[in-house]
Symmetry: C2
Subunit: 251 residues, 2 copies
């Protein structure tokens, strides 16, 4: 039925290396699946392949840890070069206790280890950083695939973050193009005619999480297409996702 | 294709009143849509209709606010009877500043106003509480619909919560039955053979958010069916969703 949403995994993207043409790899995978993109499709792309294609990888052997990083690593049993890399990605340390290092990244995201991690990166001595401008990454993908398919698309770059108060991680949006991240119910009347005051739904995060349900971690499906989504086209940015510090009670 | 997930809205549930047979209403709506539940389907049910059917509604005219509630309401321009109701639902106040009242509910959820709200409740003087045992609510739905359709199902009760650090709200799980809420990648090898240490995905929250994409707020679609989801059947509980206070850096 046409009010459904379909979450479609797109396997077949090979191991991505710095300098690879990510759009070409995604188009080949879409063709391999026999999936032609349609007007309004939302593509959710895992951050890891974006970082790899753009070359935001760090060789631990080339990292000279500071005294602060060495001291902290020694106390917590971590790799000082990894700690140093996290610190370099951080704008501010939010929590540094019980062996957990939660920072605010230069984008404004609050997350463990500044989003720096080693899983699914080739070579144990190589770690991947978040792309410095995930909105620009999303726009490049959006532009390339819109040109190829002649349709209007939205793109979300997703990553796996922990949350306050709740167990487990979920995938959320770290950058986007072609859509506004929020679905705004503020000021709309509900079915009883009362004006709802403060329900703004971050559908970008819900879409990223929905995509994770088919992407998994060990299945290596970094791309999913969501079809049938109602969203407002427009130039959304990651600044719309991040709560300004002066309105944040938990930073 | 059969590796897709479908998010199917189920409209046609009328206004729910205390004492209504929620399972019968949902079965009628499913039949009206011509949708027979299948083995493994996940039903996401909005908290509001559960609270209404179970009678967890409060008439503001019957609430006698405490001195504390009256003082706070006066300072912040709120309804003292509403504040009083929030306080009665709270185990602990987490933040009480800038006109925002964030509490830990008796379930352990950290959210604004203890999940108490007035939207989509008939009568401006009536407010809805969270159900006191959302897992039991989910089990009753699961049991009734499994009996009716002769298949194994999972049920999630969802509600709309804000988050630390990020703008906007998302729908997350407040109770469940028939599935474990977490998909555990801890200790599994990724494609390069490294052991991943700490990726536990809360698919219950991702499913609740995915369902919101078709449920909306003003469309009054309190039920969605997610078909094609990979999950671990079992008796999940809301305790598995809530981070214990001794492991929480943000409470």
């Amino acid at each position: 039925m046409n009010d459904e949403i379909r979450i479609i995994p797109v396997p077949g993207i090979p191991e991505v290396r710095p300098g690879d043409d990510l759009n070409a790899l995604m188009i080949a995978a879409l063709e391999q699946r026999g999936l032609a993109l349609e007007d309004g499709d939302v593509l959710v792309v895992a951050q890891k392949i974006v970082s790899k294609a753009e070359g935001y990888l760090v060789q631990l052997s080339e990292v000279e840890p500071s005294q602060f990083a060495r001291d902290y690593a020694e106390r917590t049993g971590k790799d000082a070069r990894h700690v140093e890399t996290v610190l370099r990605e951080a704008k501010r340390i939010v929590r540094m206790e019980r062996g957990v290092l939660i920072v605010e990244t230069k984008h404004g995201f609050v997350c463990a280890n500044a989003g720096v991690d080693t899983s699914n990166v080739e070579g144990a001595e190589t770690i991947a950083l978040l792309p410095p401008d995930p909105d620009a990454s999303a726009r490049r993908i959006r532009d390339g695939l819109e040109r190829r398919y002649g349709v209007r698309l939205a793109v979300i770059i997703s990553d796996t973050f922990g949350r306050a108060w709740r167990e487990g991680h979920t995938n959320i949006a770290i950058g986007l193009a072609g859509m506004l991240p929020m679905q705004d119910y503020v000021g709309q009347d509900d079915v009883f005619g009362y004006t709802m005051r403060v329900t703004t739904i971050c559908i970008a995060d819900e879409l990223a999480g929905a995509a994770e349900l088919v992407q998994g971690k060990v299945k290596q499906v970094p791309l999913a297409v969501l079809r049938g989504v109602e969203y407002v086209p427009g130039e959304g940015t990651l600044e719309m996702l991040v709560r300004p510090i002066e309105r944040d009670l938990f930073r």
